[in-house]
Symmetry: C2
């Protein structure tokens, strides 16, 4: 087995989720990631914890979704019981066919999201980590050879996370005490939002592996302006390009997309919270040097910011603030490499992808 797989497993178990003797662990991984699942079982066993292995199979999921009537979805209470008695959840992505669910109706997926929401809430209340195994299908989605993609993934994953944490802490120190954030890119994006009373978190590869962003939650009704998400978005097996959102009083009041606009509409119609922002994130992992149609990596790129419609992360929401709630959380990316800046309380903190605390910053 490639030694990088075992290193990957050790980072997940020790750094990301801090597995301890006696912990109950759930490992959810598709067949393409079997090698990593095997390594995880070895490391989890070595630490004296007890694994359960879920298949996370997109073909089976598609077959189920197409067979059920949309009004018959029920909450998988047995899965919820499993999660309730679990300390650590490890979820591995690895596409066999990234378009496996392209013939499942968006409204079907939205109905299932609603039904599984109580289960997701339990899952998110545990120590969890989402990571990626470099399968052939994921390499294809990225437009890369399998070997080049393996190098890309493990370079981004198997790294010195303490050093990365310190680099990112500089941006946390700017954003955490701030009130207003403005994101401007070309003449297509100019949006302001309040982050007053919210917490900015430093993602150094605990819940996401790779990590590499700082993120917070906007005050839900404070978002004003428009955003063109100029990086494409892969959602449920379909590509949304050119998503454009207009916000008034925190709500999306207009939206369009160049491709698969009806899927974007479905997302926004899931529930009330799906029309408001739940996250503002700033990518800071410079080892992720290309766009791979994979949000877990794309949103961490150094010259990007991302915003998610839907559910806010509780940890970002101040005690006297309201968390935006939704069955969905869908990230979308703005390229900030050129003709762009981030303003915090009236001061430019990043211009054309370079932060104030980096060499070459041109305020």
């Amino acid at each position: 087995m490639d030694p990088r797989i075992r290193e990957h497993a050790e980072i997940i178990v020790d750094h990301s989720t801090d597995v301890q003797a006696g912990d109950n662990v759930v490992i959810s991984a598709p067949g393409e990631a079997e090698d990593l699942a095997v390594a995880l079982h070895e490391v989890v066993g070595d630490r004296g914890a007890t694994p359960v292995y879920l298949a996370n199979d997109s073909r089976a999921e598609r077959a189920y979704l197409r067979a059920v009537d949309d009004d018959e979805f029920e909450t998988p209470t047995h899965l919820q019981s499993l999660y309730e008695d679990t300390d650590v959840l490890i979820r591995v992505r690895a596409e066999a066919n990234a378009t496996e669910q392209s013939d499942v109706a968006p409204e079907t997926q939205a109905e299932q999201s609603k039904a599984t929401r109580p289960v997701q809430e339990v899952a998110l209340s545990k120590r969890w980590c989402l990571t990626q195994f470099p399968s052939k299908g994921s390499a294809q989605l990225a437009g890369m050879s399998t070997e080049a993609y393996e190098n890309f993934v493990w370079d981004a994953v198997n790294k010195d996370w303490d050093a990365q944490r310190e680099h990112q802490a500089q941006m946390v120190d700017i954003l955490d005490p701030a009130s207003e954030v403005r994101i401007v890119s070309g003449d297509t994006t100019d949006v302001t939002m309040s982050v007053d009373g919210m917490s900015t978190l430093n993602d150094y590869a605990e819940k996401n592996l790779p990590g590499g962003e700082v993120f917070t939650a906007p005050v839900a009704d404070s978002v004003e302006g428009e955003v063109l998400f100029d990086k494409p978005l892969y959602y449920q097996g379909r590509e949304i390009t050119g998503a454009h959102l207009v916000f008034e009083g925190g709500e999306v009041v207009e939206h369009s997309a160049d491709q698969n606009e009806e899927l974007l509409t479905e997302v926004l119609n899931t529930d009330d919270g799906a029309r408001r922002l739940g996250e503002l994130g700033i990518g800071m992992n410079r080892d992720i040097d290309r766009f791979t149609y994979n949000m877990l990596f794309d949103e961490k790129m150094g010259d990007t910011v991302h915003m998610a419609v839907g559910r806010a992360y509780d940890e970002c929401v101040g005690d006297d603030r309201e968390a935006n709630e939704s069955a969905v959380h869908v990230d979308m990316i703005v390229d900030m490499a050129e003709d762009s800046y981030i303003e915090v309380d009236g001061e430019v903190v990043q211009r054309d992808g370079t932060f104030r605390f980096e060499d070459g910053f041109d305020g």
Copy 2:
């Protein structure tokens, strides 16, 4: 997809486990059986039930077993919680490598069996079905081409189970009211046991698919005599051949094997119940016409009987009888095709594989 796979899935869901709308279902299947798992998700969804998909991966299981210290095994209480909230459990076998666990110490597997026993008890209290998918590794174990093995499996599985039930009911009518059973084969097997007060069940492919046996539980302290199990046994990736047991007062007082005797010793030493018989079964599925090193099929062969050391099935045990309890249940087979007979209360009911109610019986 081969239409026999969907037929297989429908028999599991409708005949074997009677899945109903609103049921919680667990599907446990290795990657080799993905096609059947996909078909099961489709049929389960169509019936309005809700699946959870466990990976059942022997490489991951081996890695975990080798990593844990033998005195550190804990009951997987999260898996137990999953099962407690489940109505139907479907477990699919399909070997990628039948010897995957050949380098796990028998005592390690015995320790894990003890730790997982509470979970097994919950699982056995639900509607469940164990079945087989014709993977390449399972075909190799049987010494057959993949295509020939596919034909063998689906001929044995996709059949008229109502007709099979009626055929077998004739043997249930003999064994259920009986007191004493004697099994004689050549000069190596002559064993008697009481089945007084026990129930004989008709296995027509509910808990096992394929089905095709009638089975009961011996009165635990009544077994006397010796048995040579002349069909080999595959257990935890190793082959035990020529297992020979001598019973006195229901207990195994002597044992030996031609190959892997130490594994047989481990099994018998698991706990007190592992030294007593938990099951007597009589194979009656004439579509299973060859030995394939797979107990799910082998024990159903028409010219065989099998006995299991360890746990008795509760349904076989009369209200005023004691069930043999154990963390293990290990079936072993006696070939009854030649120079053999089964006697029930002093009357021969099968000779050289032919039952009293079949053509050609020579009492």
